[in-house]
């Protein structure tokens, strides 16, 4: 089979491949590039925040005069950077990495399938993602710059914004289409293509997380699609879905008919964007569960409660969207309802985290690089989750709304949370994908530096937010409060740049390890799940013989077994 694979041309093998593994790698590389690009945008913003009004070193001189003045950033450019950093990180970085890359590569392998259920749909999904990404990126070259109304694109600001916003919307429509196609594919694959004997409660937790994520994408994205279409109509056909009557801008009436509602956008947007938060975190939880089970050498504690919590979390995530909107003049009945649902949704997260932590009890814990990242995920996600508590209550939110506390909160969830989980996944499955092990000392260096600087970035933000500094300020020192805590801002910025430098060991490791002569073992982590049942890297079609599953996903340290792991695909003598 491998010879016939070689006969495929370059285009069929790499550009128009329908093999889920190639598509997974394509997604992974593209998403990592976008993540890096998003990081670069953020570093420029951090310069302006730490040293407002000073020329940006090195690149300041290269940017056009509509972006910088004598090398110093202009507010419109700062707003573009903010909006595009958020959009790129969320929609073009983490989701494609967590779902597109890990989902595509690992899901069919872990369920023992030859490929995804619809390989060509899979390819179309990747292509739509690339088109959407390119449309987004091209908006940087427009005369008015890229979208600058925040990643939330609140109307009416976004409706009256420059052409970059139109590109943002068109890009979003492609990204949404990509996610929808991917979601259908994942659900059908997971339901239909499980190997013989792989019942639902023998599925690895990662598969469960991908299944719930796919449902969230499937049902939450269409309303955003609608919102994007409405906003495009508002911008291009002069309708006024989001434009109320009597708007005045720059002293002159805005040429809109009126009759619309700015809050309609927020409802449609957050109806997607809250489930989206779980889209960002659930695959991360799945990866962490895999890595922790594997390296603690014992079954996950409370697998079933975790699965039920996951399902409940998915369902509840559709009922909490308006907790982003407490300060829009919502009545007490509505806010009471959403405060209650928000408190309820915290319970399943607490259960999952508790189960992961208790899984460590009585274990025999190894500390390879992926485990370090997975372990760091627990307290980091813990901080992210706990700081959500005051934000979920309307009264404290009256102080925290749109401050750096919010920034700190959700970055703790997605940056040291999800991104650490992604790193854990990369280190864990790298030998599966390339057949080589990554270098351990470089990996540990990468981990410790990232761990320190991640906290160095986001912990100061908590205190800035506590002091009451608003987010999205081009120059927070304009305010007395911002000036008073400027030291924290500077510390955040330096941590951010050092964090970027800390990724150098990872980049070196990532590329150098591929060229290693020494091959990794077939099952280097001595894992139990199905992706290790086939050769490394897996051939086209994944399994020579369809695997059969005999046991649960995490049969580690079974008493009386010959080794401390009993793979799912090997029948145990009893």
């Amino acid at each position: 089979m491998s010879e016939s694979h070689a006969k495929l041309g370059f285009l069929r093998s790499y550009v128009f491949s329908t093999d889920h593994k190639v598509i997974g790698i394509q997604y992974g590389i593209t998403a990592l590039l976008f993540l890096f690009f998003g990081l670069c945008l953020m570093m420029m913003m951090r310069w302006q925040l730490a040293y407002p009004g000073e020329a940006i070193p090195i690149i300041g001189g290269l940017l056009g005069e509509t972006l910088v003045d004598d090398g110093a950033m202009l507010p419109s450019f700062y707003n573009s950077l903010g909006a595009m950093h958020g959009t790129i990180m969320v929609f073009m970085g983490i989701v494609p990495l967590a779902v597109g890359a890990f989902g595509n590569y690992i899901v069919p392998l872990q369920i023992g399938a030859p490929d995804m259920a619809f390989p060509r749909l899979n390819m179309a999904s990747y292509q739509a993602f690339v088109i959407g990404g390119l449309v987004m990126l091209s908006s940087f070259f427009l005369p008015g710059g890229a979208a600058s109304s925040g990643w939330t694109s609140y109307a009416p600001l976004s409706v009256t914004a420059t052409t970059g916003q139109t590109f943002w919307l068109i890009g979003m429509i492609f990204l949404i289409a990509s996610s929808l196609l991917g979601a259908i594919n994942f659900i059908v694959t997971i339901i239909h293509l499980r190997a013989e004997g792989l019942t639902f409660f023998r599925l690895p937790f990662f598969i469960w997380s991908q299944l719930v994520t796919a449902f969230l994408l499937l049902l939450a994205f269409p309303p955003l699609q609608v919102a994007a279409i409405f906003q495009l109509m508002d911008r291009l056909a002069d309708t006024s879905f989001f434009m109320p009557t009597g708007l005045v801008s720059g002293g002159d009436p805005v040429a809109a008919v009126g009759g619309g509602s700015p809050l309609l956008w927020q409802h449609l947007f957050w109806f997607l964007a809250h489930p989206e938060v779980y889209v960002l975190i659930l695959p991360g939880m799945g990866i962490v569960a895999e890595v922790i089970a594997n390296n603690s050498r014992k079954p996950l504690w409370g697998y079933r409660p975790m699965v039920y919590s996951l399902l409940f979390l998915g369902f509840m995530s559709f009922c909490v969207w308006a907790h982003h909107m407490y300060m829009t003049g919502m009545g007490t009945t509505m806010s009471t309802f959403f405060q209650i649902t928000t408190m309820i949704i915290s319970i399943p997260s607490v259960i999952i985290l508790t189960c992961l932590v208790i899984s460590l009890w009585g274990a025999s814990i190894r500390f390879p690089v992926p485990m370090l990242f997975a372990l760091a995920f627990l307290p980091m996600f813990g901080i992210g989750g706990l700081t959500g508590l005051p934000l979920g209550l309307a009264a404290p939110d009256a102080h925290f709304h749109d401050t750096y506390y919010v920034i700190g909160h959700f970055h703790y969830v997605v940056a040291p949370g999800t991104i650490f989980a992604m790193f854990a996944g990369i280190y864990h499955w790298y030998p599966k994908v390339t057949g080589r092990q990554m270098n351990v000392p470089l990996g540990k260096l990468h981990f410790w530096l990232s761990f320190v600087f991640m906290n160095g970035i986001f912990m100061p933000m908590m205190f800035e937010g506590m002091a009451g500094v608003s987010r999205r300020l081009f120059d927070p020192t304009v305010y007395e409060i911002g000036a008073a805590v400027h030291g924290l801002t500077t510390m955040s910025s330096w941590s951010a740049w050092l964090l970027a430098l800390s990724q150098i060991p990872f980049i070196i490791n990532f590329f150098m390890s591929m060229r290693k002569k020494e091959r990794a073992e077939e099952n280097p982590w001595q894992a139990t799940t199905l992706e290790w049942a086939t050769s490394t890297p897996p051939p086209h079609g994944n399994f020579v013989e369809p695997p059969v599953v005999y046991s649960g996903p995490y049969e580690y340290s079974v008493p009386g077994a010959s080794s401390d792991f009993s793979p799912q695909f090997i029948k145990q003598e009893s």
């Binding site: 016939s4 399938a113 659900i187 339901i191 499937l218 939450a220 994205f221 008919v257 009759g259 509602s261």
Partner: protein, 210 residues
């Protein structure tokens, strides 16, 4: 090279009782329900919030109920011919399939043509998506909704026609080798077609009658 064989393409999965393609289209329709659901809820939200007397009924707004009814009948008929085309495939009669599928496509096109005349009539009277309800100090977004929702629906009809044309002209070759798989494809296209039909059945009273 040996193509990898992905199971449950033609035979139903024991758990769900359907093929992968059919499960996929049902999921897709679920997301479409969310799409049109969001459109309808936005409509309701803005209509409820509109100032007294600024939200016209379809008739007040100049929508032609007889033409709308005619189009509804066209779509319902096309759903029937769609079923017939699938049934004739199942009964091993590709000739009848061709006739019924042709009729479905023609009816779909008729729907779009009628829709096109309705649009151009509106434009002719100076009514555009951005037109507010005349004379109101706080105009409503009725026409915005009318054009956006019916436009999106027409796009769905158009895509359905494209798929059907593909099935009729190019896809039929598969019938000779894998008749079951082809019938499955026709069924999937049919499910989508019925859904688009169903959306119109909600749209028509919402925009024209209420």
């Amino acid at each position: 090279m040996s193509e990898i064989v992905i199971p449950y393409r033609t035979e139903p999965h024991p758990l769900t009782g359907v093929t992968s393609g059919k499960l996929g289209i049902w999921l897709f329709l679920a997301s479409e329900v969310m799409l049109f659901g969001a459109l309808f809820s936005s409509y309701v939200l803005l209509r409820v919030g509109a100032a007294e007397g600024t939200w016209p009924t379809g008739v007040e707004a100049g929508l032609n109920v007889p033409i709308g009814t005619f189009n509804t009948l066209v779509l319902i008929t096309s759903s029937i011919t769609m079923v017939m085309s699938w049934a004739s495939l199942k009964m091993g009669n590709p000739g009848a399939f061709k006739r019924y599928m042709g009729a479905t496509i023609a009816l779909g096109m008729l729907f779009l043509v009628v829709k096109g005349f309705e649009y151009s009539g509106k434009f002719h009277h100076g009514i555009f998506p951005a037109t507010g309800w005349p004379g109101a100090s706080d105009p409503s977004t009725f026409y915005g909704f009318y054009f956006t929702i019916t436009g999106l629906h027409a796009l769905h009809v158009f895509l359905g026609i494209l798929v059907n044309i593909w099935l009729l002209v190019w896809g039929l070759a598969l019938y000779k080798t894998e008749p079951e798989r082809f019938a499955g494809r026709v069924e999937i296209s049919g499910l989508y077609w019925h859904f688009v039909d169903l959306v119109w059945i909600f749209l028509f009273p919402l925009l024209y009658l209420l």
